[in-house]
């Protein structure tokens, strides 16, 4: 067992500052690290009294008992002229300095502060003005082999005016207990187009808390697709700030649970600029005693005339012990809205569809495999990565082959 005192030491300001100097980080980053370390110790753990944490009980989680450890990170992808995809500290220093922490502020919460203090091997993707990455940038964060450690993935995406990029963030770990606390910041300039695929392949004892937040300028477009199959607990917060006029975003997520897996999705569609459009679709299929939680806010600010927003959360219960909670919220501050819809469903599979498939010779498990794959299709079908849909379907089938249905 790890020594709690020695591990907690790693989170103190002095050790964080020392580690930053040892890594040869620039002065501004050293200072940011020190501030983040102070915030980590000063801020309380989130409690169920906070609405986004209502259904995810952190009692018993002791952040400072997990020693921070770098994961093996690879970045594949060829940047266009003047662009960059690789280690944050090895990229264009002025881009990192200007944007790191500009969307997700270090002092927002204990986990985010811990990430800001502890991340190693962060990733920067920089798309220069008018340029496009021809192939997706694939970032793999592999924590296999780590036990009872904490990893702190950090990704910064800066797409300048009319820049285009697709980023795949793939996370893996082994079967040992692991804590993952990730922060992804996206800055999309005017008419920039960014696609982000979060491909969670965590091991069965990993608890993941990840924040993704994007700031969109005029006519910028962001598409986020999240696929959650692994992990013991996954809490993913995806927030889009539609600041510029005409900005658009789509957030889609699918989760497939079994045993005691717990998925918690939080989304924010923050319409700030006029004529902005957003869509959220979060779907979970739950076997065993797994659980899904959704808390989504659509906010239409005073200046967001002509906003168009839709928010949907659908939960398919594949067993009698599975459970889903849905808490969609609308905050509309202008009367001039084209559409602001939301809907949430929780229920078992359509018995007629099940009988239809069984009448074609598929046994109940096979029928459910097909139905769940079909249920996910609206999300999977639009994923920005060739061949990923088939791969995912195989993973869905494989997981349901042994799931408690």
């Amino acid at each position: 067992m790890t020594d709690r005192t020695a591990t907690a030491e790693r989170y103190t300001e002095s050790q964080v500052a020392a580690a930053s100097i040892e890594r040869g980080e620039p002065q501004w980053l050293q200072e940011a690290r020190a501030e983040a370390a102070r915030a980590t110790s000063a801020l309380p753990m989130p409690t169920a009294a906070l609405r986004p944490w209502r259904y995810t009980d952190l009692q018993g989680l002791d952040l400072e008992a997990f020693p921070p450890h770098p994961a093996a990170i690879t970045v594949e992808g060829t940047a266009p002229a003047g662009g960059f995809a690789g280690r944050l500290t090895g990229g264009p220093a002025e881009v990192a300095r200007e944007h790191l922490g500009s969307v997700v502020a270090t002092t927002e919460g204990k986990f985010i502060a811990a990430n800001a203090a502890q991340w190693e091997d962060g990733v920067l993707v920089h798309v220069p003005r008018g340029q496009a990455f021809e192939q997706p940038v694939v970032v793999t964060i592999d924590a296999a082999g780590l036990a009872s450690a904490a990893v702190y993935p950090r990704v910064l995406v800066v797409a300048e005016e009319q820049g285009e990029v697709t980023i795949v963030l793939r996370t893996r770990s082994g079967a040992d207990p692991l804590l993952a606390i990730g922060v992804v910041e996206v800055i999309a300039g005017q008419a920039a187009r960014v696609k982000l695929l979060l491909d969670d392949q965590w091991g069965e004892a990993t608890r993941d808390f990840t924040w993704v937040r994007a700031r969109l300028a005029k006519d910028a477009d962001l598409q986020v697709a999240s696929v959650a199959i692994g992990g013991q607990l996954l809490k993913q917060t995806v927030e889009v700030l539609l600041e510029g006029e005409g900005a658009t975003s789509v957030i889609r997520a699918v989760a497939l649970g079994n045993a005691d897996q717990h998925f918690d999705f939080v989304t924010l569609q923050d319409h700030i600029g006029p004529r902005t459009t957003s869509e959220v679709e979060v779907k979970s299929a739950l076997a065993g005693a797994s659980r899904s939680v959704y808390y989504g806010i659509t906010r239409v600010g005073e200046g967001a005339h002509g906003a168009n927003a839709d928010q949907a959360n659908k939960n398919l219960l594949l067993s009698g012990s599975a459970k889903a909670d849905s808490d969609p919220v609308l905050e509309i501050l202008t009367a001039d809205v084209i559409r602001c819809g939301h809907g949430a469903t929780v229920g078992p599979v359509d018995q007629e569809a099940l009988f239809y498939l069984q009448s074609r010779g598929l046994d109940r498990r096979q029928a459910l495999q097909l139905l769940v794959a079909g249920f996910f299709q609206s999300v999977v079908g639009e994923l920005p990565l060739e061949g990923f849909g088939e791969q995912l379907e195989e993973r869905v089938f494989a997981k349901l082959q042994t799931a408690d249905l």
Binding site: Q358, R360, L371
Partner: protein, 263 residues
């Protein structure tokens, strides 16, 4: 008489959730290989319930009697086991399954039916050949099962499945309902194209119309859960001309009386 595929003996059926509601009240019916049996009857006579029960729908429960399929008592079998053994039900209202393509369904169903992996190449060859036989476009197979299909497309999708799965017994439940004349002809031609000397067909219909295209060997009339008349194709012609009322009167039956008896 040819070898029987389906033998229904003294079958009585009620709704699973409402056991006090008896719908099929003692049906005997035998369908042999290569035979086409038409089961006709007024609305609410129990035709679709009988079809669904033979296919193994969990919505109904068998209170008495037996269903024998290829000589085996399948009364307690699950729907999927019956299907794998060669029983096919073409639904009156095929269920939309968004996100699942016809191709994926057909391949999974074919593998289940054969009890083994069907290689992609082999599957595609069979699919193309069946689509061609039914004069259907390949793009049809890439659509989601019954999702956004017109009435005619839904029925054609059922016939496509029938063609791929090559069952021993095909139950066509009101395959003619909701179709205009052209769609009806297309679907009926499809069924005819797939007919073999091995397959039995139980064709359930309210109207005699489809029987102009698919010639029945036997016609049965179901009224209030019982087969009250059986005969050859001329029985269907008779119903076309006179409707069901003369049969009811001849038997001293009226719908009101039957309903009162059920209560």
């Amino acid at each position: 008489m040819s070898e029987p595929i389906l033998e229904v003996r003294g079958l009585q059926v009620s709704i699973a959730d409402k056991p006090e509601i008896h719908i099929v009240k003692g049906v005997d019916l035998t369908v042999g290989r290569g035979e086409v049996h038409a089961l006709m009857g007024p609305n609410g006579s129990g035709k679709s319930t009988l079809a669904s029960t033979i296919a193994g729908s969990p919505s109904y429960s068998v209170d008495a009697g037996q269903i024998l399929f290829k000589g085996e008592d399948v009364t307690e079998w699950s729907a999927d086991k019956r299907a794998r053994n060669g029983l096919f039900l073409s639904f009156q209202y095929p269920t939309p399954i968004p996100g699942v393509t016809m191709v994926n369904l057909l391949r999974a169903a074919l593998q289940a039916r054969r009890g083994q992996e069907v290689p992609a190449r082999e599957f595609l060859v069979e699919l193309r050949s069946t689509l061609g036989q039914l004069k259907m476009d390949e793009s049809f197979a890439r659509r989601y099962v019954n999702d956004g299909f017109s009435g005619g497309e839904k029925k054609r999708a059922e016939i496509l499945q029938l063609g791929m799965l090559k069952p021993d017994l095909a139950i066509l439940d009101e395959t003619d309902s909701g179709l205009d004349v052209d769609a009806l002809r297309t679907v009926a031609e499809g069924v005819n194209a797939l007919r073999t000397a091995e397959m039995g067909i139980l064709l359930i219909t309210h109207y005699e119309r489809i029987l102009n295209y698919i010639q029945p060997d036997f016609v049965h009339v179901l009224v209030n859960g019982r087969i009250v008349r059986s005969g050859d194709a001329s029985l269907a012609k008779q119903i076309e001309t006179t409707g069901y009322d003369p049969i009811l009167q001849e038997l001293g039956l009226s719908r009101e009386k039957e309903e009162a008896a059920a209560r």
